[in-house]
Every structure is written in structure tokens, then in C-alpha cells.
Amino acid sequence: MAYKFKLQQFEGPLDLLLQLIEQEEMDINQIALAHVTDQYLRYLNDSKDILPEELADFLVVAAKLLLIKSKSLLPGLQVDDDEGTDLERQLKMYKEFYEASKVLHKMILKRHFSFTREKMVVKIDRVFNPPKHLTSEKLRELFSDVLASLEVWVSMEHDVIIKTVSIRERIRNIQEMIGTKATLHFNELMKTAKNKTEVIVTFLAILELVKQRWVGVVQEGTFSDIVVRKIEGAEGEVVKETI
């Protein structure tokens, strides 16, 4: 199924999810969440609108969706139910405030502003009144503190870009690894992930490759390692629009 509709620009993962569900004219529940999982993942993969610093938040929601989806596909699957209802509740809560924000917007558009007086009605003469214990050294200390606090803002964007790996990059990465090895062990693959976000990205990448019949996965026993194997005849770049 190809998606043809165009979404408005979205603000964060919950907004994207809400728009997808509303597009399908469904209520917010587990069924609806499972239903839009694929669309959500595809948006995540294709969208250029997602800011690097927000990618991690989108991935957390993706992981929760996958859990809900896997439950709907395998009713016997024993998984903790909390994540699913959490996401459902969170999305409902978000919707309440999203609706409220539209009401506030209307209030603002009415332009019924209040105004306050900037000038005092009395004139206040300036008197020199320095803080009693202020010294040059104290000023230096305070300013150094201020400078130290800037670090986080200056380095923020830079860091996020370096640290996060996109799903597409990860797919390419796995394809290369499998090209030289033919089979890969899931656990090995996960070891190359540097943080929780990358674990989810890796998982999503494998799922995408399975869906596109580029790799197959085999698991011998319930808790044994999953083997990822390249499917015979699968070559070249992954095509995006396959399903």
C-alpha cells in the first residue's frame, strides 16, 4: 500500500501519530496505533523534516508502536501491556492539549490584548547602590560560570548530528556487513550500537530489510540468537516503495 496523502508539517512524534490516526478517521486506541505503525515508520525513514535533535524521540515512539503491532499480529505473544496503554494514554493527553492550543490561538487572533503602563507615575532618581561585597574577583567568577553554562547550547546541535545514525545509514551499513559475511548474528549487530537510540535504529533497519525481502531471519530456539541471512538473488539498493 502506497501512501499518497500529504501531512501537514508535524511537531514531534505524537503530532505525527495523531495526524496519521485522524487521517484514517480512527479513534485513538491500540487498533488504530497498530494500523498506522507502518506509515509512521515510513515517514520516519523518508522525512527530511525531522530535526536531528528530535530523532531520538521519534524512535522511542517507533519502538512502542512496533510492540503494539507485534501484539496485534501475534495475539499469543506474552508482552508487558504497559508500553501500549502508555502510548495510548499519552497520545490522548497530547490531543487534549493540542485541541486547547487551537482554542488559545483563536483567542489570540481576536486581538483582545490588555495593555500595561511602561512608565512609572513617579520619577525614580538614580542613586549609586552597589552590592556591598562585590569585587572584581567576584565578577570574574560569576562571568566564568556564565561562560561555562554556554557550552551546552553551543555544542548541542553539533553533538546530536554526530551521535545519531539514521535508519537509512544503518540499512546501508548492514547491507555492507552482510555482503562480506553472508550471515550476521543479531547480538553481534546490537553490540555495534552505541546507545539505546542506535539499538532501536538497528532493529528498525533489520525490519525494513526483512520487509523488502533483502534478508531473512532465523531463530533456532526461544532464547537463542537470531541469525540474519541475505536472501539469494537480492542485489543492489533497497527499493523504497515495495509493499
Binding site: N29, E96, S101, S114, F115, V121
Partner: protein, 197 residues
């Protein structure tokens, strides 16, 4: 001299926001008395037929014109009122207005996305204020007088459906009701189609 009189006078002289503690310091009354008198003042002043209202956010008060008179006052003070709020700003401000004082973590829980940058922007624009909450040992955010003035309300409690959205308890009940309702409903036929592929 009554405390009400003193506060009325101080709010008029200053024209700016004044905190309960500042008012208490100047009038040499205790904070509780100041709060009681200020609330009484508000209920006297904030009626449609008055041209001037008293607005409140957190524990500060300010005198402001009745929002119904905006059309007249804006020409007199030559206010710039250009500008629109972006969607993320509006969404964030709505949550802070209804749920403030709120921590960054709580805000992010509702929006589902990191809010560091948007908070910083709103702080710089003076639409949001940060305070240290001693009990929670965390920074909490509230809206400012500028946002109240922009919305044309005297205090956040006047926002539509404030009681419902302000309290976690009310909201939780509301949401749970909906979940129960949903689960009682017969499964819609759409489900079979839902699992495409």
C-alpha cells in the same frame, strides 16, 4: 489605611508586575494578608464595566487595561501587535498555561519531544518564566504577564476548561473513561482492513 488600599496604590504607581513578597515588604504586612487583599481587589476590579483590571500570574499582580478596550488603547500607546506564534510555541505555551508550574520533564512527557530549544526561545521572548521549586528541587516554568495580556485574560484560571485540563486527576479520569468506552464498543469492521498486506 487598609491593605487593599495600599496594594491598589502600589500597583498603580509601579505599573509593573509586583510580587506578593515585594508588596508585603513595602506595606509591612504579612504575605498572607497581602494575598487575601489582592484577591479581593481582583474580584472588585475585574468586572466588564471597569476600564482597568488587575491581572495575576504565579504570586505577582499587575494593573492592565480591560481587553475589550484593546481597539482604543492600542492606537493611543502605538503598540506593535504584529506577529504570530509558531505551532510549537503555541503548543508549549498552552501546556504551560494549563499545567504550570511545570517541569521540563513533565512538559516533554506531554509533547513527546525534547523541549530545550523551544523553552529557551520562549524564555528569551518573555512569554515564559523559570523558577526554582524548592520542594521538587527542580526548575519549573510558568507563563508571564505578557502572555496573559496577549490572551486578554486576568489569570490562567479563566482559560476555557481550565479545571479539566489543569488537574492530572481530572484528566486521568477523563482519559480512562474514554478508554473504557472504547473497549466496550464493538470492534469496528475497519480492523480487518487495517491489517493490510
Amino acid at each position: 489605611m487598609t491593605t487593599k488600599q495600599l496594594i491598589e496604590s502600589l500597583l498603580f504607581i509601579s505599573g509593573r508586575p509586583m510580587s506578593e513578597s515585594k508588596l508585603a515588604e513595602i506595606t509591612q504586612k504579612d504575605v498572607k494578608e497581602v494575598r487575601g487583599a489582592a484577591e479581593e481587589l481582583m474580584s472588585g476590579w475585574n468586572v466588564p464595566e471597569r476600564g482597568v483590571h488587575i491581572i495575576k500570574t504565579g504570586s505577582s499582580y499587575q494593573m492592565a487595561t480591560n481587553p475589550e478596550l484593546a481597539y482604543l488603547v492600542k492606537d493611543f500607546v502605538k503598540a506593535e501587535q504584529s506577529g504570530e506564534l509558531s505551532r510549537p510555541s503555541l503548543e508549549t505555551l498552552t501546556i504551560i498555561a494549563y499545567r504550570g508550574p511545570i517541569t521540563k520533564a513533565e512538559l516533554e512527557q506531554i509533547r513527546g519531544v525534547n523541549c530545550s530549544l523551544i523553552l529557551r526561545n520562549l524564555l528569551i521572548k518573555g512569554l515564559v518564566e523559570a523558577h526554582e521549586d524548592q520542594e521538587k528541587m527542580a526548575t519549573v516554568y510558568t507563563i508571564t504577564f505578557d502572555l496573559l495580556k496577549f490572551l486578554g485574560i486576568n489569570r490562567v484560571e479563566e482559560l476555557p476548561e481550565y479545571q479539566k485540563l489543569n488537574s492530572d486527576e481530572n484528566l486521568r479520569k477523563l482519559l480512562e473513561q474514554k478508554i473504557e468506552q472504547a473497549s466496550d464498543e464493538p470492534v469496528p469492521p475497519a480492523v480487518s482492513q487495517a491489517e493490510e498486506k
